[in-house]
Protein backbone atom coordinates (compact mmCIF):
# COMPACT_ATOMS: atom_id res chain seq x y z
CA UNK A 1 0.00 0.00 0.00
CA UNK A 2 2.80 2.39 0.95
CA UNK A 3 4.50 1.57 -2.33
CA UNK A 4 1.26 2.11 -4.22
CA UNK A 5 0.78 5.55 -2.69
CA UNK A 6 4.36 6.44 -3.53
CA UNK A 7 3.95 5.17 -7.08
CA UNK A 8 0.85 7.27 -7.72
CA UNK A 9 2.31 10.35 -6.13
CA UNK A 10 5.37 9.98 -8.33
CA UNK A 11 3.29 9.55 -11.47
CA UNK A 12 0.95 12.42 -10.67
CA UNK A 13 3.69 14.91 -9.93
CA UNK A 14 6.01 15.17 -12.89
CA UNK A 15 8.14 17.64 -10.99
CA UNK A 16 8.78 15.21 -8.17
CA UNK A 17 9.89 12.22 -10.21
CA UNK A 18 13.04 11.96 -8.21
CA UNK A 19 12.83 13.06 -4.60
CA UNK A 20 16.60 13.33 -4.45
CA UNK A 21 16.30 16.40 -6.69
CA UNK A 22 15.46 19.58 -4.84
CA UNK A 23 12.16 21.14 -5.88
CA UNK A 24 11.47 24.58 -4.54
CA UNK A 25 7.86 25.58 -4.72
CA UNK A 26 6.89 29.21 -4.46
CA UNK A 27 5.02 30.01 -1.25
CA UNK A 28 2.84 32.34 -3.30
CA UNK A 29 1.32 29.34 -5.05
CA UNK A 30 -0.25 28.11 -1.87
CA UNK A 31 -3.74 29.25 -0.83
CA UNK A 32 -3.84 31.43 2.25
CA UNK A 33 -5.82 30.12 5.20
CA UNK A 34 -7.02 32.08 8.23
CA UNK A 35 -8.03 30.62 11.59
CA UNK A 36 -10.83 32.03 13.75
CA UNK A 37 -11.16 30.82 17.33
CA UNK A 38 -14.71 30.85 18.71
CA UNK A 39 -13.82 29.10 21.99
CA UNK A 40 -15.11 30.74 25.16
CA UNK A 41 -15.74 28.03 27.76
CA UNK A 42 -12.48 26.04 27.74
CA UNK A 43 -9.33 26.78 29.77
CA UNK A 44 -7.38 29.50 27.95
CA UNK A 45 -4.11 27.50 28.22
CA UNK A 46 -5.63 24.53 26.44
CA UNK A 47 -7.22 26.81 23.89
CA UNK A 48 -3.87 28.47 23.16
CA UNK A 49 -2.11 25.12 22.76
CA UNK A 50 -4.87 23.92 20.46
CA UNK A 51 -4.45 26.94 18.22
CA UNK A 52 -0.69 26.31 18.01
CA UNK A 53 -1.31 22.69 17.06
CA UNK A 54 -3.75 23.70 14.29
CA UNK A 55 -1.25 26.20 12.89
CA UNK A 56 1.60 23.64 13.12
CA UNK A 57 -0.47 20.99 11.38
CA UNK A 58 -1.49 23.35 8.59
CA UNK A 59 2.11 24.42 8.06
CA UNK A 60 3.51 20.91 8.02
CA UNK A 61 1.09 19.85 5.29
CA UNK A 62 2.99 22.37 3.12
CA UNK A 63 -0.29 22.92 1.25
CA UNK A 64 -1.19 26.28 2.80
CA UNK A 65 0.15 29.72 3.36
CA UNK A 66 -0.94 29.98 7.00
CA UNK A 67 -1.95 33.22 8.69
CA UNK A 68 -0.50 32.60 12.16
CA UNK A 69 -2.54 35.36 13.85
CA UNK A 70 -5.19 34.04 16.22
CA UNK A 71 -8.36 35.80 15.09
CA UNK A 72 -11.36 35.60 17.41
CA UNK A 73 -15.03 35.53 16.42
CA UNK A 74 -18.23 33.95 17.77
CA UNK A 75 -19.01 30.69 15.99
CA UNK A 76 -22.28 31.95 14.41
CA UNK A 77 -21.12 35.50 13.70
CA UNK A 78 -21.16 36.76 10.10
CA UNK A 79 -17.79 36.49 8.35
CA UNK A 80 -15.82 39.71 8.00
CA UNK A 81 -14.83 39.25 4.36
CA UNK A 82 -13.25 42.68 4.16
CA UNK A 83 -10.68 41.73 6.81
CA UNK A 84 -9.62 38.61 4.90
CA UNK A 85 -9.44 39.92 1.34
CA UNK A 86 -6.05 38.31 0.77
CA UNK A 87 -7.06 34.93 2.10
CA UNK A 88 -8.64 31.96 0.34
CA UNK A 89 -10.02 29.90 3.19
CA UNK A 90 -11.33 30.47 6.69
CA UNK A 91 -11.30 27.76 9.32
CA UNK A 92 -13.53 28.76 12.22
CA UNK A 93 -13.50 26.43 15.20
CA UNK A 94 -14.82 26.20 18.71
CA UNK A 95 -13.76 23.98 21.60
CA UNK A 96 -16.32 23.24 24.32
CA UNK A 97 -17.27 20.68 26.95
CA UNK A 98 -20.42 18.68 26.27
CA UNK A 99 -23.02 17.47 28.82
CA UNK A 100 -20.83 14.47 29.70
CA UNK A 101 -17.88 16.78 30.36
CA UNK A 102 -16.04 15.52 27.28
CA UNK A 103 -14.03 17.85 25.08
CA UNK A 104 -15.77 18.58 21.78
CA UNK A 105 -14.94 20.72 18.79
CA UNK A 106 -16.95 22.04 15.90
CA UNK A 107 -15.58 23.58 12.76
CA UNK A 108 -16.62 25.38 9.61
CA UNK A 109 -14.30 25.61 6.63
CA UNK A 110 -15.30 28.42 4.31
CA UNK A 111 -14.17 29.40 0.83
CA UNK A 112 -13.64 33.15 1.27
CA UNK A 113 -13.73 33.83 -2.45
CA UNK A 114 -17.14 32.29 -3.08
CA UNK A 115 -18.54 32.46 0.46
CA UNK A 116 -19.43 28.78 0.24
CA UNK A 117 -19.06 26.55 3.30
CA UNK A 118 -16.84 23.60 2.32
CA UNK A 119 -17.00 21.55 5.50
CA UNK A 120 -19.00 21.72 8.71
CA UNK A 121 -18.22 19.05 11.23
CA UNK A 122 -18.32 18.23 14.97
CA UNK A 123 -15.71 16.18 16.83
CA UNK A 124 -15.66 14.64 20.32
CA UNK A 125 -12.87 13.09 22.32
CA UNK A 126 -13.48 11.12 25.52
CA UNK A 127 -10.16 11.90 27.18
CA UNK A 128 -9.17 15.55 27.25
CA UNK A 129 -5.48 14.62 27.32
CA UNK A 130 -5.79 13.35 23.74
CA UNK A 131 -6.70 16.81 22.41
CA UNK A 132 -3.75 16.87 19.95
CA UNK A 133 -5.48 14.13 17.95
CA UNK A 134 -8.56 16.38 17.75
CA UNK A 135 -6.44 19.06 16.06
CA UNK A 136 -4.79 16.52 13.74
CA UNK A 137 -8.20 15.10 12.70
CA UNK A 138 -9.55 18.58 11.89
CA UNK A 139 -6.60 19.53 9.68
CA UNK A 140 -6.56 16.14 7.94
CA UNK A 141 -10.25 16.60 7.07
CA UNK A 142 -9.73 20.20 5.91
CA UNK A 143 -6.80 19.13 3.73
CA UNK A 144 -8.75 16.24 2.21
CA UNK A 145 -11.89 18.26 1.45
CA UNK A 146 -9.74 20.68 -0.54
CA UNK A 147 -8.32 17.81 -2.57
CA UNK A 148 -4.70 18.19 -1.53
CA UNK A 149 -2.35 15.18 -1.38
CA UNK A 150 -2.79 12.84 1.55
CA UNK A 151 -1.54 14.00 4.96
CA UNK A 152 -2.61 11.01 7.02
CA UNK A 153 0.85 11.09 8.62
CA UNK A 154 -0.67 13.78 10.89
CA UNK A 155 -2.80 11.15 12.58
CA UNK A 156 -0.05 8.56 12.98
CA UNK A 157 1.33 7.48 16.32
CA UNK A 158 4.98 7.75 17.22
CA UNK A 159 6.52 5.14 19.51
CA UNK A 160 9.78 6.07 21.16
CA UNK A 161 12.14 4.98 23.90
CA UNK A 162 13.55 7.60 26.26
CA UNK A 163 16.31 7.29 28.82
CA UNK A 164 15.13 7.93 32.37
CA UNK A 165 18.38 7.15 34.25
CA UNK A 166 21.46 4.97 33.63
CA UNK A 167 20.42 1.52 32.33
CA UNK A 168 16.75 2.57 32.38
CA UNK A 169 14.53 3.59 29.47
CA UNK A 170 10.74 3.73 29.08
CA UNK A 171 8.68 3.24 25.94
CA UNK A 172 6.13 5.93 25.14
CA UNK A 173 3.43 6.24 22.48
CA UNK A 174 2.60 9.76 21.32
CA UNK A 175 1.04 11.80 18.54
CA UNK A 176 3.41 12.97 15.79
CA UNK A 177 4.19 16.23 17.61
CA UNK A 178 5.02 14.30 20.82
CA UNK A 179 2.53 16.56 22.65
CA UNK A 180 0.28 13.72 23.82
CA UNK A 181 2.33 11.01 25.52
CA UNK A 182 1.40 7.74 27.15
CA UNK A 183 4.07 5.57 28.76
CA UNK A 184 3.47 1.95 27.77
CA UNK A 185 6.55 0.12 29.10
CA UNK A 186 8.30 1.17 32.25
CA UNK A 187 10.96 -0.39 34.51
CA UNK A 188 14.35 -1.56 33.26
CA UNK A 189 16.08 -0.84 29.98
CA UNK A 190 13.55 -1.01 27.12
CA UNK A 191 14.90 -0.12 23.70
CA UNK A 192 14.33 0.07 19.94
CA UNK A 193 10.53 0.16 19.63
CA UNK A 194 9.28 -0.59 16.12
CA UNK A 195 5.66 -0.64 14.92
CA UNK A 196 4.57 -4.17 14.05
CA UNK A 197 2.49 -3.09 11.03
CA UNK A 198 0.83 -0.13 9.36
CA UNK A 199 -2.21 -0.38 11.70
CA UNK A 200 -0.04 0.64 14.67
CA UNK A 201 -1.89 -1.53 17.17
CA UNK A 202 1.25 -3.32 18.35
CA UNK A 203 4.98 -2.79 18.39
CA UNK A 204 8.20 -4.74 18.94
CA UNK A 205 10.83 -3.73 21.46
CA UNK A 206 13.90 -5.14 23.19
CA UNK A 207 13.89 -5.77 26.92
CA UNK A 208 17.53 -5.56 28.08
CA UNK A 209 17.04 -6.84 31.62
CA UNK A 210 18.95 -10.12 31.44
CA UNK A 211 19.51 -11.63 28.01
CA UNK A 212 18.22 -9.15 25.38
CA UNK A 213 14.73 -10.32 24.44
CA UNK A 214 12.39 -9.11 21.69
CA UNK A 215 8.73 -8.76 22.67
CA UNK A 216 5.64 -7.79 20.73
CA UNK A 217 3.26 -5.54 22.68
CA UNK A 218 -0.43 -5.13 21.88
CA UNK A 219 -1.11 -1.57 23.05
CA UNK A 220 -4.88 -2.04 23.30
CA UNK A 221 -4.88 -5.41 25.08
CA UNK A 222 -1.90 -4.50 27.25
CA UNK A 223 -0.23 -7.85 26.55
CA UNK A 224 3.28 -8.78 25.48
CA UNK A 225 4.51 -11.88 23.68
CA UNK A 226 8.09 -13.09 23.57
CA UNK A 227 9.44 -13.40 20.02
CA UNK A 228 13.13 -14.29 20.35
CA UNK A 229 16.17 -13.61 22.52
CA UNK A 230 19.89 -13.30 21.79
CA UNK A 231 22.89 -12.58 23.99
CA UNK A 232 24.87 -9.40 23.44
CA UNK A 233 22.37 -7.29 21.50
CA UNK A 234 19.07 -7.64 19.71
CA UNK A 235 17.23 -5.01 17.69
CA UNK A 236 14.19 -5.21 15.44
CA UNK A 237 15.32 -2.85 12.69
CA UNK A 238 12.48 -3.27 10.20
CA UNK A 239 9.24 -5.10 9.52
CA UNK A 240 8.18 -6.31 6.07
CA UNK A 241 5.20 -4.61 4.48
CA UNK A 242 2.91 -7.57 5.21
CA UNK A 243 4.17 -7.70 8.79
CA UNK A 244 5.31 -11.34 8.58
CA UNK A 245 9.08 -10.89 8.50
CA UNK A 246 11.43 -9.00 10.75
CA UNK A 247 14.93 -7.74 10.10
CA UNK A 248 16.89 -8.22 13.29
CA UNK A 249 20.36 -7.21 14.35
CA UNK A 250 21.47 -10.06 16.57
CA UNK A 251 24.71 -11.30 18.05
CA UNK A 252 24.23 -14.97 19.03
CA UNK A 253 28.00 -15.45 18.73
CA UNK A 254 28.79 -11.97 20.01
CA UNK A 255 29.02 -10.82 16.43
CA UNK A 256 26.43 -8.23 15.31
CA UNK A 257 24.91 -9.38 12.01
CA UNK A 258 21.58 -8.99 10.25
CA UNK A 259 19.05 -11.82 10.33
CA UNK A 260 15.60 -12.27 8.86
CA UNK A 261 13.03 -13.81 11.18
CA UNK A 262 9.88 -15.32 9.70
CA UNK A 263 7.09 -14.90 12.25
CA UNK A 264 4.91 -17.59 10.63
CA UNK A 265 7.51 -20.36 10.67
CA UNK A 266 9.91 -19.15 13.35
CA UNK A 267 12.74 -19.60 10.85
CA UNK A 268 15.80 -17.46 11.40
CA UNK A 269 18.00 -16.74 8.36
CA UNK A 270 21.36 -15.02 8.60
CA UNK A 271 21.61 -12.38 5.87
CA UNK A 272 25.02 -10.86 6.53
CA UNK A 273 28.18 -12.41 7.91
CA UNK A 274 31.09 -10.10 8.39
CA UNK A 275 33.48 -10.06 11.37
CA UNK A 276 32.95 -6.32 11.93
CA UNK A 277 29.67 -4.48 12.49
CA UNK A 278 26.55 -5.03 10.35
CA UNK A 279 23.44 -3.33 11.71
CA UNK A 280 20.28 -1.36 10.90
CA UNK A 281 18.80 -3.55 8.14
CA UNK A 282 15.91 -2.06 6.15
CA UNK A 283 13.80 -3.81 3.55
CA UNK A 284 13.92 -2.28 0.04
CA UNK A 285 12.81 -3.30 -3.46
CA UNK A 286 9.58 -5.05 -2.42
CA UNK A 287 11.27 -6.70 0.56
CA UNK A 288 13.59 -8.67 -1.74
CA UNK A 289 16.70 -6.75 -0.72
CA UNK A 290 18.02 -4.85 2.25
CA UNK A 291 20.11 -1.76 2.88
CA UNK A 292 22.19 -1.75 6.03
CA UNK A 293 25.06 -0.06 7.86
CA UNK A 294 28.42 -1.80 7.90
CA UNK A 295 31.96 -0.86 8.90
CA UNK A 296 33.52 -3.14 6.28
CA UNK A 297 35.40 -0.18 4.78
CA UNK A 298 36.85 0.69 8.17
CA UNK A 299 34.13 3.27 8.83
CA UNK A 300 30.35 2.94 8.87
CA UNK A 301 28.46 3.49 5.65
CA UNK A 302 25.47 2.16 3.73
CA UNK A 303 25.43 -1.08 1.72
CA UNK A 304 22.77 -3.15 0.02
CA UNK A 305 22.33 -6.86 -0.47
CA UNK A 306 19.70 -9.03 -2.14
CA UNK A 307 18.31 -11.53 0.33
CA UNK A 308 19.77 -14.93 -0.54
CA UNK A 309 22.69 -13.66 -2.60
CA UNK A 310 26.30 -13.30 -1.44
CA UNK A 311 27.15 -10.02 -3.18
CA UNK A 312 27.19 -6.81 -1.17
CA UNK A 313 27.00 -3.44 -2.92
CA UNK A 314 28.03 -0.08 -1.67
CA UNK A 315 25.14 2.39 -1.84
CA UNK A 316 26.69 5.65 -0.66
CA UNK A 317 29.94 7.04 -2.01
CA UNK A 318 29.84 10.14 0.16
CA UNK A 319 31.12 10.86 3.64
CA UNK A 320 33.24 8.77 5.96
CA UNK A 321 30.79 8.11 8.73
CA UNK A 322 27.22 7.20 7.75
CA UNK A 323 26.02 5.28 10.76
CA UNK A 324 22.22 5.07 10.50
CA UNK A 325 19.63 4.76 7.76
CA UNK A 326 15.92 4.34 7.08
CA UNK A 327 14.42 3.21 3.79
CA UNK A 328 11.18 3.47 1.86
CA UNK A 329 10.80 1.88 -1.54
CA UNK A 330 14.02 2.71 -3.35
CA UNK A 331 14.83 5.72 -1.19
CA UNK A 332 17.29 5.76 1.67
CA UNK A 333 17.69 8.54 4.20
CA UNK A 334 20.92 8.33 6.14
CA UNK A 335 22.84 10.12 8.87
CA UNK A 336 26.29 11.38 7.95
CA UNK A 337 28.77 12.72 10.46
CA UNK A 338 30.33 15.69 8.68
CA UNK A 339 33.08 16.40 11.18
CA UNK A 340 35.54 14.03 12.76
CA UNK A 341 36.19 15.59 16.12
CA UNK A 342 36.82 13.07 18.86
CA UNK A 343 36.75 15.75 21.51
CA UNK A 344 34.17 18.26 20.43
CA UNK A 345 30.74 18.73 18.99
CA UNK A 346 30.18 17.08 15.66
CA UNK A 347 27.74 17.88 12.91
CA UNK A 348 25.42 15.10 11.80
CA UNK A 349 23.40 15.84 8.66
CA UNK A 350 20.68 13.88 6.91
CA UNK A 351 20.94 12.94 3.24
CA UNK A 352 18.51 11.32 0.85
CA UNK A 353 19.73 8.82 -1.72
CA UNK A 354 18.00 6.65 -4.30
CA UNK A 355 18.93 3.10 -5.24
CA UNK A 356 17.95 4.02 -8.81
CA UNK A 357 20.24 7.01 -9.28
CA UNK A 358 23.55 8.43 -8.13
CA UNK A 359 22.08 11.66 -6.79
CA UNK A 360 22.12 12.46 -3.14
CA UNK A 361 20.28 15.34 -1.56
CA UNK A 362 21.27 17.03 1.67
CA UNK A 363 18.25 17.50 3.89
CA UNK A 364 19.68 19.37 6.88
CA UNK A 365 22.35 22.04 7.16
CA UNK A 366 23.69 22.06 10.71
CA UNK A 367 23.48 20.62 14.22
CA UNK A 368 23.02 17.01 15.24
CA UNK A 369 20.28 15.42 13.14
CA UNK A 370 19.53 11.82 14.02
CA UNK A 371 16.84 9.09 13.99
CA UNK A 372 15.46 9.78 10.49
CA UNK A 373 12.29 7.77 9.83
CA UNK A 374 10.12 7.76 6.73
CA UNK A 375 6.44 8.45 7.24
CA UNK A 376 3.69 6.28 5.81
CA UNK A 377 3.53 8.37 2.61
CA UNK A 378 7.23 7.90 1.83
CA UNK A 379 7.56 11.64 1.27
CA UNK A 380 7.75 12.83 4.83
CA UNK A 381 10.68 12.24 7.15
CA UNK A 382 10.66 12.65 10.91
CA UNK A 383 13.91 13.14 12.79
CA UNK A 384 15.36 14.53 15.99
CA UNK A 385 17.51 17.63 15.96
CA UNK A 386 19.78 18.40 18.89
CA UNK A 387 21.31 21.79 19.44
CA UNK A 388 23.16 22.41 22.66
CA UNK A 389 21.14 20.96 25.48
CA UNK A 390 17.87 21.38 23.61
CA UNK A 391 16.28 18.98 21.21
CA UNK A 392 13.63 19.43 18.58
CA UNK A 393 11.39 17.27 16.46
CA UNK A 394 11.95 17.78 12.77
CA UNK A 395 9.59 17.06 9.89
CA UNK A 396 10.86 17.22 6.32
CA UNK A 397 8.37 17.33 3.47
CA UNK A 398 10.51 16.03 0.60
CA UNK A 399 8.16 16.94 -2.21
CA UNK A 400 7.93 20.55 -1.06
CA UNK A 401 11.53 20.93 0.15
CA UNK A 402 10.32 22.19 3.51
CA UNK A 403 11.46 21.41 7.03
CA UNK A 404 9.77 22.20 10.33
CA UNK A 405 11.27 22.00 13.80
CA UNK A 406 9.25 21.83 17.01
CA UNK A 407 10.85 22.16 20.44
CA UNK A 408 10.84 18.95 22.47
CA UNK A 409 10.70 18.46 26.22
CA UNK A 410 10.99 14.72 26.52
CA UNK A 411 14.55 14.15 27.71
CA UNK A 412 17.00 11.96 25.85
CA UNK A 413 15.39 9.87 23.12
CA UNK A 414 16.95 6.46 22.50
CA UNK A 415 15.09 5.47 19.35
CA UNK A 416 11.80 6.20 17.64
CA UNK A 417 9.46 4.84 15.00
CA UNK A 418 6.65 6.54 13.17
Amino acid sequence: MRKLILFFSLVISLFALDLTLEIVKDVGDQPKIVLEDATSSVESRLDAKFFKLLVGDLEVTAHFNVDTTRHVAPFDAPVNYAAYKEANFLLRYMLYYDDKGELDAKITLLDLKSGKPLLTKAYAISDKARYPFLAHAIITDANNILGFPDVSFLKRYVVFSKYTRPKHADIVVSDYTLTYQKTIITGGLNLFPKWADAKQTSFYYTDMSGTPTLYRVDIYKGTRTKIISSPGMLVCSDVSRDGTKLLLTMAPNMQPDIYQYDLRTGKLTRITSYPGIDVNGNFVQNDRAIVFVSDRLGYPTIFSKRIGSRAVQRVIYHGTNNSACSAYGDYVVYVSRETNNAFGRNTFNLYLASLQSDYIRRLTANGVNIFPRFGIDGETIMYIKEFGRQSGLGIIRLRYNKAYIYPLHVGKIQSLDW
Binding site: K167, L191, G232, D278, R389
Partner: protein, 179 residues
Protein backbone atom coordinates in the same frame (compact mmCIF):
# COMPACT_ATOMS: atom_id res chain seq x y z
CA UNK B 1 35.03 -30.36 111.25
CA UNK B 2 38.70 -29.84 111.62
CA UNK B 3 37.93 -27.58 114.63
CA UNK B 4 35.90 -30.30 116.25
CA UNK B 5 38.65 -32.90 115.74
CA UNK B 6 41.22 -30.49 117.16
CA UNK B 7 39.08 -29.79 120.27
CA UNK B 8 38.49 -33.50 120.84
CA UNK B 9 42.23 -34.25 120.56
CA UNK B 10 43.13 -31.43 122.92
CA UNK B 11 40.53 -32.56 125.50
CA UNK B 12 41.81 -36.17 125.34
CA UNK B 13 45.34 -35.04 126.07
CA UNK B 14 44.15 -32.91 129.01
CA UNK B 15 42.12 -35.68 130.57
CA UNK B 16 44.70 -38.45 130.05
CA UNK B 17 46.89 -36.59 132.56
CA UNK B 18 50.51 -36.12 131.62
CA UNK B 19 50.76 -33.08 133.73
CA UNK B 20 54.48 -32.43 133.50
CA UNK B 21 54.66 -32.99 129.89
CA UNK B 22 54.77 -30.02 127.82
CA UNK B 23 52.12 -30.26 125.35
CA UNK B 24 52.65 -28.41 122.34
CA UNK B 25 49.38 -27.06 121.40
CA UNK B 26 49.17 -26.07 117.90
CA UNK B 27 47.30 -22.91 117.60
CA UNK B 28 44.53 -23.19 115.13
CA UNK B 29 45.59 -21.70 111.80
CA UNK B 30 43.76 -18.61 110.82
CA UNK B 31 41.26 -19.42 108.14
CA UNK B 32 41.45 -17.45 104.90
CA UNK B 33 38.04 -15.96 103.93
CA UNK B 34 36.55 -17.79 100.84
CA UNK B 35 36.07 -15.45 97.78
CA UNK B 36 32.40 -15.49 96.73
CA UNK B 37 32.14 -15.30 92.86
CA UNK B 38 28.87 -15.00 91.08
CA UNK B 39 28.98 -16.56 87.71
CA UNK B 40 26.99 -14.48 85.22
CA UNK B 41 25.74 -16.86 82.57
CA UNK B 42 23.20 -14.70 80.82
CA UNK B 43 24.19 -14.10 77.22
CA UNK B 44 26.73 -16.88 76.93
CA UNK B 45 26.51 -20.18 75.13
CA UNK B 46 24.23 -18.99 72.35
CA UNK B 47 24.84 -20.75 69.10
CA UNK B 48 24.75 -19.03 65.69
CA UNK B 49 23.03 -20.57 62.75
CA UNK B 50 24.81 -19.57 59.54
CA UNK B 51 21.94 -19.11 57.13
CA UNK B 52 22.09 -18.73 53.35
CA UNK B 53 21.31 -15.03 53.53
CA UNK B 54 24.50 -14.36 55.41
CA UNK B 55 26.52 -16.39 52.99
CA UNK B 56 24.86 -14.57 50.14
CA UNK B 57 25.71 -11.24 51.69
CA UNK B 58 29.29 -12.32 52.15
CA UNK B 59 29.38 -13.43 48.55
CA UNK B 60 27.93 -10.12 47.40
CA UNK B 61 30.51 -8.28 49.46
CA UNK B 62 33.28 -10.35 47.93
CA UNK B 63 31.94 -9.70 44.44
CA UNK B 64 31.75 -5.96 45.08
CA UNK B 65 35.32 -5.99 46.40
CA UNK B 66 36.59 -7.72 43.27
CA UNK B 67 34.54 -5.40 41.05
CA UNK B 68 36.01 -2.37 42.83
CA UNK B 69 39.52 -3.70 42.20
CA UNK B 70 38.89 -4.24 38.49
CA UNK B 71 40.15 -1.64 36.04
CA UNK B 72 38.04 -0.12 33.25
CA UNK B 73 39.30 -0.44 29.70
CA UNK B 74 39.02 2.78 27.68
CA UNK B 75 38.67 3.08 23.91
CA UNK B 76 39.33 5.60 21.18
CA UNK B 77 36.55 7.47 19.44
CA UNK B 78 34.61 5.08 17.15
CA UNK B 79 37.09 2.22 17.78
CA UNK B 80 36.83 -1.19 19.36
CA UNK B 81 40.44 -2.38 19.34
CA UNK B 82 42.31 -2.37 22.68
CA UNK B 83 44.77 0.52 22.85
CA UNK B 84 48.39 -0.32 23.84
CA UNK B 85 48.08 1.87 26.96
CA UNK B 86 45.10 -0.22 28.10
CA UNK B 87 46.91 -3.58 27.87
CA UNK B 88 48.29 -3.37 31.46
CA UNK B 89 44.70 -2.87 32.66
CA UNK B 90 43.58 -5.98 30.77
CA UNK B 91 46.50 -7.91 32.33
CA UNK B 92 45.44 -6.70 35.77
CA UNK B 93 41.82 -7.69 35.21
CA UNK B 94 42.79 -11.14 33.89
CA UNK B 95 44.92 -11.73 36.98
CA UNK B 96 42.08 -10.52 39.20
CA UNK B 97 39.47 -12.78 37.61
CA UNK B 98 41.88 -15.76 37.60
CA UNK B 99 42.55 -15.40 41.33
CA UNK B 100 41.24 -18.27 43.48
CA UNK B 101 38.62 -16.19 45.32
CA UNK B 102 37.17 -14.86 42.04
CA UNK B 103 36.93 -18.16 40.21
CA UNK B 104 33.50 -19.03 41.58
CA UNK B 105 31.97 -15.95 39.92
CA UNK B 106 30.88 -15.19 36.40
CA UNK B 107 31.94 -11.86 34.90
CA UNK B 108 29.63 -9.64 32.88
CA UNK B 109 31.72 -7.64 30.41
CA UNK B 110 29.76 -4.46 29.67
CA UNK B 111 30.51 -2.36 26.56
CA UNK B 112 29.64 1.34 26.68
CA UNK B 113 29.81 4.30 24.29
CA UNK B 114 29.89 8.08 24.46
CA UNK B 115 26.90 10.20 23.48
CA UNK B 116 28.00 10.47 19.83
CA UNK B 117 27.03 8.00 17.17
CA UNK B 118 23.56 6.73 16.51
CA UNK B 119 21.30 4.14 18.04
CA UNK B 120 21.97 0.69 16.57
CA UNK B 121 25.53 1.28 15.46
CA UNK B 122 26.43 2.52 18.92
CA UNK B 123 25.06 -0.63 20.56
CA UNK B 124 27.04 -2.75 18.11
CA UNK B 125 30.16 -0.69 18.84
CA UNK B 126 29.66 -1.30 22.57
CA UNK B 127 29.27 -5.01 21.88
CA UNK B 128 32.45 -5.17 19.81
CA UNK B 129 34.34 -3.38 22.59
CA UNK B 130 33.06 -5.90 25.11
CA UNK B 131 34.02 -8.75 22.77
CA UNK B 132 37.57 -7.36 22.30
CA UNK B 133 38.02 -7.35 26.07
CA UNK B 134 36.50 -10.81 26.43
CA UNK B 135 38.87 -12.20 23.80
CA UNK B 136 41.83 -10.53 25.53
CA UNK B 137 40.81 -12.00 28.90
CA UNK B 138 40.39 -15.48 27.38
CA UNK B 139 43.85 -15.18 25.82
CA UNK B 140 45.11 -14.53 29.36
CA UNK B 141 43.58 -17.71 30.70
CA UNK B 142 40.13 -16.62 31.90
CA UNK B 143 37.58 -19.39 31.27
CA UNK B 144 35.32 -18.18 28.41
CA UNK B 145 32.38 -19.96 30.06
CA UNK B 146 32.61 -17.46 32.90
CA UNK B 147 32.40 -14.41 30.63
CA UNK B 148 29.08 -12.91 29.51
CA UNK B 149 29.14 -9.87 27.23
CA UNK B 150 26.53 -7.19 26.78
CA UNK B 151 26.32 -3.73 25.23
CA UNK B 152 24.65 -0.81 26.95
CA UNK B 153 25.39 1.60 24.08
CA UNK B 154 25.13 5.09 25.51
CA UNK B 155 22.48 4.17 28.09
CA UNK B 156 24.93 3.87 30.97
CA UNK B 157 27.15 6.97 31.09
CA UNK B 158 29.45 7.46 34.08
CA UNK B 159 29.70 11.11 33.18
CA UNK B 160 26.96 13.30 31.72
CA UNK B 161 28.78 16.55 31.17
CA UNK B 162 29.40 17.65 27.59
CA UNK B 163 33.19 17.72 27.86
CA UNK B 164 35.93 15.81 26.10
CA UNK B 165 37.12 14.31 29.40
CA UNK B 166 33.60 13.09 30.03
CA UNK B 167 33.12 11.52 26.59
CA UNK B 168 36.46 9.71 26.96
CA UNK B 169 35.31 8.28 30.31
CA UNK B 170 32.15 6.89 28.74
CA UNK B 171 33.93 4.99 25.93
CA UNK B 172 34.74 2.05 28.17
CA UNK B 173 34.31 -1.57 29.10
CA UNK B 174 33.60 -2.32 32.73
CA UNK B 175 32.82 -5.44 34.70
CA UNK B 176 30.06 -6.72 36.91
CA UNK B 177 30.47 -9.99 38.79
CA UNK B 178 27.58 -12.43 38.85
CA UNK B 179 27.12 -15.31 41.31
Amino acid sequence: MRKILLSVATAALVFTGCAKKTVEVQAPTQQQPTQQTTQVNEGSGMQTINQGMNEQELKMQKMKEIEAKSKKIYFDFDKYNIRPDQVPNVDWDAQLFNAQDAKEFKVKVEGNCDEWGTDEYNYALGLKRAKSVKDALVARGVDPQRLIIISYGKSNPVCTEHTKACWAKNRRVEFELLP
